[in-house]
Protein backbone atom coordinates (compact mmCIF):
# COMPACT_ATOMS: atom_id res chain seq x y z
CA UNK A 1 0.00 0.00 0.00
CA UNK A 2 1.44 3.43 -0.94
CA UNK A 3 2.62 5.67 1.89
CA UNK A 4 1.25 8.83 0.30
CA UNK A 5 -1.83 9.60 -1.68
CA UNK A 6 -2.55 12.31 -4.16
CA UNK A 7 -5.59 14.55 -4.19
CA UNK A 8 -6.59 17.84 -5.80
CA UNK A 9 -7.30 20.98 -3.81
CA UNK A 10 -8.75 23.87 -5.85
CA UNK A 11 -7.20 22.38 -8.97
CA UNK A 12 -3.75 21.90 -7.44
CA UNK A 13 -2.31 18.46 -6.73
CA UNK A 14 -1.29 17.75 -3.12
CA UNK A 15 0.48 14.67 -1.74
CA UNK A 16 -0.46 13.61 1.77
CA UNK A 17 0.49 10.65 4.00
CA UNK A 18 -2.11 7.89 4.24
CA UNK A 19 -4.36 8.58 7.20
CA UNK A 20 -4.37 12.36 6.76
CA UNK A 21 -7.56 14.36 6.86
CA UNK A 22 -8.71 16.61 4.05
CA UNK A 23 -8.32 19.66 6.34
CA UNK A 24 -4.58 19.03 6.56
CA UNK A 25 -4.43 18.67 2.77
CA UNK A 26 -6.15 22.02 2.27
CA UNK A 27 -3.74 23.76 4.64
CA UNK A 28 -0.77 21.96 3.07
CA UNK A 29 -1.90 23.36 -0.27
CA UNK A 30 -1.48 26.80 1.29
CA UNK A 31 -5.22 27.48 1.43
CA UNK A 32 -6.32 29.04 4.72
CA UNK A 33 -9.83 30.02 3.58
CA UNK A 34 -12.04 26.94 3.75
CA UNK A 35 -15.41 28.66 3.55
CA UNK A 36 -16.99 32.11 3.65
CA UNK A 37 -19.37 32.88 6.48
CA UNK A 38 -22.87 34.27 5.92
CA UNK A 39 -21.40 37.79 5.86
CA UNK A 40 -18.48 36.79 3.64
CA UNK A 41 -15.71 36.42 6.24
CA UNK A 42 -12.92 33.94 5.51
CA UNK A 43 -13.07 30.93 7.83
CA UNK A 44 -10.95 27.88 8.59
CA UNK A 45 -10.95 24.99 11.06
CA UNK A 46 -11.46 25.83 14.73
CA UNK A 47 -12.17 22.71 16.78
CA UNK A 48 -10.47 20.03 14.69
CA UNK A 49 -12.96 17.43 15.89
CA UNK A 50 -16.09 17.82 13.78
CA UNK A 51 -18.15 20.11 15.97
CA UNK A 52 -17.65 23.67 14.75
CA UNK A 53 -18.42 23.05 11.03
CA UNK A 54 -16.00 25.83 10.06
CA UNK A 55 -13.88 23.40 8.06
CA UNK A 56 -16.60 22.64 5.50
CA UNK A 57 -15.51 22.19 1.89
CA UNK A 58 -16.93 20.53 -1.22
CA UNK A 59 -15.52 17.03 -1.79
CA UNK A 60 -16.18 15.26 -5.10
CA UNK A 61 -19.10 17.60 -5.71
CA UNK A 62 -20.74 17.17 -2.31
CA UNK A 63 -21.03 20.41 -0.36
CA UNK A 64 -20.64 20.91 3.39
CA UNK A 65 -18.26 18.04 4.10
CA UNK A 66 -16.36 18.48 7.36
CA UNK A 67 -12.80 18.29 6.11
CA UNK A 68 -11.43 17.67 9.63
CA UNK A 69 -13.44 14.45 9.79
CA UNK A 70 -12.83 13.18 6.27
CA UNK A 71 -9.87 10.98 5.37
CA UNK A 72 -7.99 11.79 2.19
CA UNK A 73 -8.46 9.32 -0.66
CA UNK A 74 -6.50 9.05 -3.86
CA UNK A 75 -7.95 11.26 -6.59
CA UNK A 76 -10.29 13.23 -4.32
CA UNK A 77 -11.41 16.60 -5.69
CA UNK A 78 -11.59 19.24 -2.97
CA UNK A 79 -12.90 22.74 -3.45
CA UNK A 80 -13.02 25.56 -0.93
CA UNK A 81 -15.03 28.76 -1.19
CA UNK A 82 -13.38 31.55 -3.12
Amino acid sequence: MPETISLIVNGVQVRMPVGSMVSAAVLTAGQTLFRRSVTGEPRGPLCGMGICFECRVTIDGEAHCRSCQTLCHDGMDVRTDG
Partner: protein, 377 residues
Protein backbone atom coordinates in the same frame (compact mmCIF):
# COMPACT_ATOMS: atom_id res chain seq x y z
CA UNK B 1 -65.14 51.38 38.71
CA UNK B 2 -61.58 52.50 38.11
CA UNK B 3 -60.82 54.41 34.91
CA UNK B 4 -58.94 52.40 32.30
CA UNK B 5 -55.18 52.69 32.28
CA UNK B 6 -54.86 51.78 28.61
CA UNK B 7 -57.07 52.25 25.61
CA UNK B 8 -56.19 48.75 24.38
CA UNK B 9 -54.52 45.75 25.97
CA UNK B 10 -53.40 43.15 23.46
CA UNK B 11 -52.93 39.58 24.63
CA UNK B 12 -50.23 37.87 22.55
CA UNK B 13 -46.94 39.13 21.16
CA UNK B 14 -46.92 37.02 18.01
CA UNK B 15 -46.87 38.68 14.62
CA UNK B 16 -50.62 39.30 14.70
CA UNK B 17 -50.66 40.83 18.18
CA UNK B 18 -47.56 42.85 17.43
CA UNK B 19 -48.95 44.21 14.16
CA UNK B 20 -52.17 45.11 15.96
CA UNK B 21 -50.20 46.90 18.65
CA UNK B 22 -48.28 48.92 16.09
CA UNK B 23 -51.46 49.89 14.30
CA UNK B 24 -53.26 50.82 17.55
CA UNK B 25 -50.33 52.98 18.60
CA UNK B 26 -50.18 54.61 15.16
CA UNK B 27 -53.85 55.49 15.58
CA UNK B 28 -52.96 57.35 18.77
CA UNK B 29 -54.23 54.74 21.22
CA UNK B 30 -52.48 53.90 24.49
CA UNK B 31 -51.51 50.28 24.10
CA UNK B 32 -50.32 47.53 26.41
CA UNK B 33 -48.96 44.29 24.93
CA UNK B 34 -48.92 41.23 27.18
CA UNK B 35 -46.80 38.31 26.03
CA UNK B 36 -46.46 35.16 28.14
CA UNK B 37 -43.10 33.98 26.85
CA UNK B 38 -41.32 35.92 24.12
CA UNK B 39 -42.15 38.08 21.15
CA UNK B 40 -42.79 35.95 18.08
CA UNK B 41 -42.36 32.71 20.02
CA UNK B 42 -45.61 30.94 19.13
CA UNK B 43 -46.82 29.99 15.67
CA UNK B 44 -44.82 32.97 14.42
CA UNK B 45 -41.62 31.04 15.16
CA UNK B 46 -42.88 28.07 13.17
CA UNK B 47 -44.33 29.92 10.23
CA UNK B 48 -42.93 29.55 6.76
CA UNK B 49 -42.74 33.32 6.57
CA UNK B 50 -44.41 33.65 3.21
CA UNK B 51 -46.24 36.80 2.13
CA UNK B 52 -48.60 35.37 -0.45
CA UNK B 53 -51.95 35.92 -2.07
CA UNK B 54 -54.44 33.09 -1.73
CA UNK B 55 -57.43 32.52 -3.97
CA UNK B 56 -59.39 29.78 -2.25
CA UNK B 57 -62.18 32.22 -1.41
CA UNK B 58 -63.03 35.83 -2.22
CA UNK B 59 -62.59 36.77 1.43
CA UNK B 60 -59.23 35.02 1.67
CA UNK B 61 -58.07 36.76 -1.46
CA UNK B 62 -59.25 40.16 -0.28
CA UNK B 63 -57.43 39.88 3.03
CA UNK B 64 -54.19 38.46 1.64
CA UNK B 65 -54.13 40.93 -1.24
CA UNK B 66 -54.81 43.88 1.04
CA UNK B 67 -52.12 42.65 3.44
CA UNK B 68 -49.59 42.10 0.70
CA UNK B 69 -49.98 45.70 -0.44
CA UNK B 70 -49.44 46.86 3.15
CA UNK B 71 -46.25 44.80 3.32
CA UNK B 72 -45.09 46.42 0.08
CA UNK B 73 -45.54 49.82 1.66
CA UNK B 74 -43.45 48.94 4.70
CA UNK B 75 -40.81 46.72 3.14
CA UNK B 76 -38.11 49.37 2.80
CA UNK B 77 -38.33 50.14 6.51
CA UNK B 78 -37.90 46.55 7.60
CA UNK B 79 -34.55 45.93 9.31
CA UNK B 80 -32.06 43.55 7.72
CA UNK B 81 -32.85 40.73 10.12
CA UNK B 82 -36.44 40.55 8.86
CA UNK B 83 -34.81 39.19 5.66
CA UNK B 84 -37.48 40.48 3.28
CA UNK B 85 -36.92 38.68 -0.01
CA UNK B 86 -39.13 39.18 -3.08
CA UNK B 87 -38.37 35.73 -4.46
CA UNK B 88 -41.90 35.08 -5.73
CA UNK B 89 -43.90 31.84 -5.59
CA UNK B 90 -44.35 29.10 -8.14
CA UNK B 91 -47.44 26.94 -7.69
CA UNK B 92 -46.37 23.62 -9.14
CA UNK B 93 -48.74 21.56 -11.30
CA UNK B 94 -47.96 17.85 -11.41
CA UNK B 95 -50.47 16.88 -14.07
CA UNK B 96 -53.03 18.23 -16.52
CA UNK B 97 -55.78 18.46 -13.91
CA UNK B 98 -53.55 20.67 -11.85
CA UNK B 99 -52.69 22.69 -14.96
CA UNK B 100 -56.42 23.43 -15.31
CA UNK B 101 -56.25 24.74 -11.78
CA UNK B 102 -53.28 26.89 -12.83
CA UNK B 103 -55.29 28.41 -15.64
CA UNK B 104 -58.21 29.05 -13.34
CA UNK B 105 -55.90 30.80 -10.89
CA UNK B 106 -54.40 32.84 -13.69
CA UNK B 107 -57.83 34.10 -14.73
CA UNK B 108 -58.80 34.83 -11.16
CA UNK B 109 -55.64 36.76 -10.33
CA UNK B 110 -55.35 38.61 -13.59
CA UNK B 111 -58.90 39.85 -13.28
CA UNK B 112 -57.97 41.29 -9.91
CA UNK B 113 -54.72 42.95 -10.86
CA UNK B 114 -52.30 40.40 -9.43
CA UNK B 115 -49.34 39.83 -11.74
CA UNK B 116 -49.06 36.14 -12.57
CA UNK B 117 -47.47 34.10 -15.32
CA UNK B 118 -48.39 30.63 -16.54
CA UNK B 119 -45.37 28.36 -16.97
CA UNK B 120 -45.53 25.34 -19.20
CA UNK B 121 -43.51 22.18 -18.57
CA UNK B 122 -40.43 23.59 -20.20
CA UNK B 123 -40.67 26.97 -18.50
CA UNK B 124 -41.14 25.56 -15.01
CA UNK B 125 -38.12 23.32 -15.48
CA UNK B 126 -36.10 26.33 -16.56
CA UNK B 127 -37.36 28.45 -13.70
CA UNK B 128 -36.46 25.74 -11.18
CA UNK B 129 -33.97 23.20 -12.56
CA UNK B 130 -34.08 21.10 -9.38
CA UNK B 131 -37.72 20.14 -9.91
CA UNK B 132 -38.23 16.58 -11.10
CA UNK B 133 -38.84 16.06 -14.80
CA UNK B 134 -42.35 15.37 -16.01
CA UNK B 135 -44.23 18.15 -14.23
CA UNK B 136 -46.99 19.81 -16.19
CA UNK B 137 -46.08 23.39 -15.39
CA UNK B 138 -46.90 26.03 -12.86
CA UNK B 139 -48.03 29.51 -11.99
CA UNK B 140 -45.47 32.13 -11.04
CA UNK B 141 -46.68 34.85 -8.68
CA UNK B 142 -43.92 37.42 -8.86
CA UNK B 143 -45.26 39.68 -6.12
CA UNK B 144 -44.97 37.09 -3.34
CA UNK B 145 -42.12 37.37 -0.85
CA UNK B 146 -40.71 35.70 2.23
CA UNK B 147 -39.58 37.12 5.56
CA UNK B 148 -38.22 35.89 8.88
CA UNK B 149 -41.33 36.26 11.06
CA UNK B 150 -39.96 36.52 14.62
CA UNK B 151 -37.93 39.59 13.67
CA UNK B 152 -40.94 41.07 11.88
CA UNK B 153 -42.95 40.68 15.09
CA UNK B 154 -40.14 42.44 16.95
CA UNK B 155 -40.18 45.22 14.35
CA UNK B 156 -43.89 45.82 14.96
CA UNK B 157 -43.37 45.80 18.71
CA UNK B 158 -40.61 48.39 18.38
CA UNK B 159 -42.92 50.54 16.31
CA UNK B 160 -45.58 50.32 18.98
CA UNK B 161 -43.15 51.00 21.81
CA UNK B 162 -41.72 54.01 19.97
CA UNK B 163 -45.25 55.42 20.19
CA UNK B 164 -45.33 54.79 23.93
CA UNK B 165 -46.88 51.33 23.93
CA UNK B 166 -46.07 49.40 27.09
CA UNK B 167 -44.65 45.91 26.80
CA UNK B 168 -45.19 43.15 29.39
CA UNK B 169 -43.05 40.17 28.38
CA UNK B 170 -42.89 36.97 30.38
CA UNK B 171 -46.29 37.71 31.85
CA UNK B 172 -49.07 35.20 31.30
CA UNK B 173 -52.70 36.27 31.32
CA UNK B 174 -54.77 34.25 33.77
CA UNK B 175 -58.16 35.54 32.63
CA UNK B 176 -59.92 38.26 30.72
CA UNK B 177 -61.99 40.32 33.15
CA UNK B 178 -64.83 42.77 32.60
CA UNK B 179 -62.46 45.65 32.09
CA UNK B 180 -59.09 44.23 31.28
CA UNK B 181 -56.90 41.23 32.09
CA UNK B 182 -55.70 39.62 35.27
CA UNK B 183 -52.19 38.20 35.04
CA UNK B 184 -51.06 34.96 36.60
CA UNK B 185 -49.06 36.92 39.14
CA UNK B 186 -52.27 38.52 40.37
CA UNK B 187 -51.74 41.97 38.93
CA UNK B 188 -54.38 43.61 36.79
CA UNK B 189 -54.18 45.64 33.58
CA UNK B 190 -57.25 47.73 32.90
CA UNK B 191 -58.18 48.80 29.41
CA UNK B 192 -61.07 50.17 27.42
CA UNK B 193 -60.64 47.38 24.88
CA UNK B 194 -59.11 43.92 25.20
CA UNK B 195 -57.76 42.10 22.16
CA UNK B 196 -57.33 38.33 22.25
CA UNK B 197 -54.49 37.71 19.79
CA UNK B 198 -53.24 34.64 21.58
CA UNK B 199 -53.24 32.34 18.55
CA UNK B 200 -53.60 28.68 19.43
CA UNK B 201 -53.99 29.66 23.10
CA UNK B 202 -56.92 32.01 22.43
CA UNK B 203 -59.66 29.48 23.38
CA UNK B 204 -58.10 29.18 26.83
CA UNK B 205 -58.94 32.81 27.49
CA UNK B 206 -62.23 33.07 25.61
CA UNK B 207 -64.41 30.04 26.27
CA UNK B 208 -66.22 28.58 23.30
CA UNK B 209 -63.93 30.13 20.71
CA UNK B 210 -63.91 27.93 17.63
CA UNK B 211 -60.17 27.82 17.27
CA UNK B 212 -58.36 24.51 17.12
CA UNK B 213 -54.64 23.79 17.40
CA UNK B 214 -53.12 22.47 14.20
CA UNK B 215 -49.59 21.18 14.54
CA UNK B 216 -47.02 21.70 11.80
CA UNK B 217 -43.45 20.51 11.24
CA UNK B 218 -40.54 22.24 9.54
CA UNK B 219 -37.00 21.33 8.56
CA UNK B 220 -34.22 23.68 7.51
CA UNK B 221 -31.17 22.70 5.49
CA UNK B 222 -27.62 24.02 5.30
CA UNK B 223 -26.73 26.59 2.63
CA UNK B 224 -27.26 25.62 -0.99
CA UNK B 225 -27.46 29.01 -2.71
CA UNK B 226 -28.19 27.86 -6.26
CA UNK B 227 -30.66 25.12 -5.43
CA UNK B 228 -33.88 27.15 -5.46
CA UNK B 229 -34.92 30.62 -6.61
CA UNK B 230 -38.61 30.84 -5.77
CA UNK B 231 -40.81 29.63 -3.00
CA UNK B 232 -42.48 26.45 -4.31
CA UNK B 233 -45.92 25.18 -3.32
CA UNK B 234 -47.75 22.20 -4.70
CA UNK B 235 -51.27 22.76 -5.88
CA UNK B 236 -52.35 20.07 -3.47
CA UNK B 237 -51.41 22.51 -0.65
CA UNK B 238 -54.93 23.85 -0.40
CA UNK B 239 -56.35 20.33 -0.21
CA UNK B 240 -54.12 19.77 2.80
CA UNK B 241 -55.01 23.09 4.41
CA UNK B 242 -58.73 22.49 3.91
CA UNK B 243 -58.95 18.87 4.85
CA UNK B 244 -60.59 17.92 8.09
CA UNK B 245 -58.72 14.63 8.35
CA UNK B 246 -56.42 14.12 11.29
CA UNK B 247 -53.17 14.55 9.44
CA UNK B 248 -51.95 15.66 6.03
CA UNK B 249 -48.82 16.90 4.33
CA UNK B 250 -48.29 19.21 1.37
CA UNK B 251 -45.10 20.24 -0.37
CA UNK B 252 -43.92 23.76 0.38
CA UNK B 253 -40.33 24.98 0.30
CA UNK B 254 -38.69 28.35 0.61
CA UNK B 255 -35.18 29.67 -0.03
CA UNK B 256 -33.58 31.80 2.68
CA UNK B 257 -31.22 34.59 1.74
CA UNK B 258 -28.29 32.54 3.00
CA UNK B 259 -29.25 29.74 0.63
CA UNK B 260 -30.77 27.56 3.32
CA UNK B 261 -34.00 25.82 2.37
CA UNK B 262 -37.01 25.82 4.67
CA UNK B 263 -39.14 22.74 4.09
CA UNK B 264 -42.80 22.23 5.03
CA UNK B 265 -45.64 21.49 5.46
CA UNK B 266 -47.65 19.21 7.70
CA UNK B 267 -50.95 19.51 9.51
CA UNK B 268 -52.23 17.54 12.45
CA UNK B 269 -55.34 18.06 14.57
CA UNK B 270 -55.76 16.68 18.07
CA UNK B 271 -52.07 16.66 18.98
CA UNK B 272 -50.98 18.66 21.99
CA UNK B 273 -47.37 17.58 22.21
CA UNK B 274 -44.82 19.83 20.52
CA UNK B 275 -42.21 17.15 20.03
CA UNK B 276 -40.91 16.33 16.56
CA UNK B 277 -42.70 13.21 15.30
CA UNK B 278 -40.62 11.02 13.04
CA UNK B 279 -43.58 9.54 11.16
CA UNK B 280 -45.24 12.68 9.87
CA UNK B 281 -41.88 14.40 9.42
CA UNK B 282 -40.90 11.55 7.17
CA UNK B 283 -44.12 11.84 5.16
CA UNK B 284 -43.60 15.55 4.73
CA UNK B 285 -40.02 15.12 3.55
CA UNK B 286 -40.92 12.25 1.24
CA UNK B 287 -43.47 14.50 -0.41
CA UNK B 288 -40.88 17.23 -0.83
CA UNK B 289 -38.35 14.79 -2.31
CA UNK B 290 -40.96 13.69 -4.85
CA UNK B 291 -40.87 17.20 -6.26
CA UNK B 292 -37.17 17.90 -5.63
CA UNK B 293 -35.24 14.63 -5.95
CA UNK B 294 -31.96 16.32 -5.07
CA UNK B 295 -33.30 17.34 -1.67
CA UNK B 296 -32.59 13.95 -0.10
CA UNK B 297 -28.84 14.43 -0.28
CA UNK B 298 -28.81 17.90 1.28
CA UNK B 299 -27.71 18.41 4.86
CA UNK B 300 -30.55 19.19 7.29
CA UNK B 301 -29.72 21.17 10.41
CA UNK B 302 -32.88 21.38 12.48
CA UNK B 303 -36.44 20.15 12.74
CA UNK B 304 -39.10 21.85 14.84
CA UNK B 305 -42.84 22.25 15.26
CA UNK B 306 -45.50 24.85 15.94
CA UNK B 307 -49.25 25.14 16.40
CA UNK B 308 -51.44 27.07 13.99
CA UNK B 309 -54.77 28.47 15.16
CA UNK B 310 -57.43 27.02 12.84
CA UNK B 311 -61.09 28.02 12.49
CA UNK B 312 -63.83 25.88 10.89
CA UNK B 313 -64.22 28.12 7.83
CA UNK B 314 -60.50 28.81 7.24
CA UNK B 315 -60.94 32.55 7.82
CA UNK B 316 -59.55 34.40 10.82
CA UNK B 317 -61.59 36.08 13.54
CA UNK B 318 -61.16 39.86 13.36
CA UNK B 319 -63.64 41.97 15.27
CA UNK B 320 -65.77 42.26 18.41
CA UNK B 321 -66.52 39.19 20.48
CA UNK B 322 -70.24 38.36 20.57
CA UNK B 323 -70.43 38.13 24.36
CA UNK B 324 -67.87 40.36 26.07
CA UNK B 325 -68.61 44.06 25.51
CA UNK B 326 -65.00 45.18 25.43
CA UNK B 327 -63.35 42.18 23.86
CA UNK B 328 -62.10 41.97 20.30
CA UNK B 329 -60.60 38.93 18.63
CA UNK B 330 -57.61 38.82 16.28
CA UNK B 331 -56.87 35.13 15.97
CA UNK B 332 -57.53 31.95 14.00
CA UNK B 333 -55.17 32.72 11.10
CA UNK B 334 -54.16 29.07 10.41
CA UNK B 335 -51.35 29.13 7.86
CA UNK B 336 -51.74 32.74 6.76
CA UNK B 337 -50.96 34.67 9.90
CA UNK B 338 -47.71 36.09 8.64
CA UNK B 339 -49.21 37.53 5.47
CA UNK B 340 -52.47 38.72 6.97
CA UNK B 341 -51.04 40.15 10.18
CA UNK B 342 -50.93 43.61 8.59
CA UNK B 343 -54.42 43.48 7.12
CA UNK B 344 -55.75 42.12 10.39
CA UNK B 345 -54.23 45.02 12.29
CA UNK B 346 -55.87 47.57 10.02
CA UNK B 347 -59.29 45.93 10.12
CA UNK B 348 -59.12 45.54 13.87
CA UNK B 349 -58.27 49.16 14.51
CA UNK B 350 -60.85 50.28 11.94
CA UNK B 351 -63.45 48.56 14.05
CA UNK B 352 -62.15 49.79 17.37
CA UNK B 353 -62.02 53.47 16.40
CA UNK B 354 -64.82 53.44 13.87
CA UNK B 355 -62.78 54.03 10.68
CA UNK B 356 -64.00 52.92 7.28
CA UNK B 357 -62.21 49.64 6.45
CA UNK B 358 -60.50 49.32 3.08
CA UNK B 359 -62.11 45.91 2.51
CA UNK B 360 -65.39 44.49 3.89
CA UNK B 361 -64.94 43.07 7.41
CA UNK B 362 -68.07 40.87 7.44
CA UNK B 363 -66.38 37.61 6.40
CA UNK B 364 -64.00 37.81 9.39
CA UNK B 365 -66.41 38.92 12.10
CA UNK B 366 -66.58 36.61 15.11
CA UNK B 367 -70.35 37.06 14.98
CA UNK B 368 -70.46 34.88 11.87
CA UNK B 369 -69.63 31.86 14.00
CA UNK B 370 -72.55 32.50 16.33
CA UNK B 371 -74.81 32.84 13.31
CA UNK B 372 -73.61 29.54 11.91
CA UNK B 373 -74.18 27.82 15.24
CA UNK B 374 -77.72 29.10 15.39
CA UNK B 375 -78.32 27.95 11.84
CA UNK B 376 -77.26 24.45 12.79
CA UNK B 377 -79.22 24.36 16.03
Amino acid sequence: MSSPVYDVVIIGGGIVGAACAAECAAAGLQVAIVEAKMIGGGATAAGMGHLTVMDDSAAQFALTRYSQLLWQEVKDELPREVEYDACGTIWVAADDDEMQEVLRKQEFYSARGVEVEVLDAHAVAEAEPQLRPGLAGGLRVAGDSVIYPPCAAQFFVHRAVSRRARLFVGKAVQEITADGVRLRDGSVISAGVIVNAAGSWSPMLTAGLQVQKRKGHLVITDRYPRFLRHQLVELGYLKSAHTLTAESVAFNIQPRRTGQLLIGSSRQFEVDDAKVEAGILSRMLSRAIEFLPGLGALSSLRAWTGFRAATPDKLPLIGPDVEHRRLYLATGHEGLGITTSMGTAKLLVDQIVGRRPAIPVEPYLPARMAGAELAHA
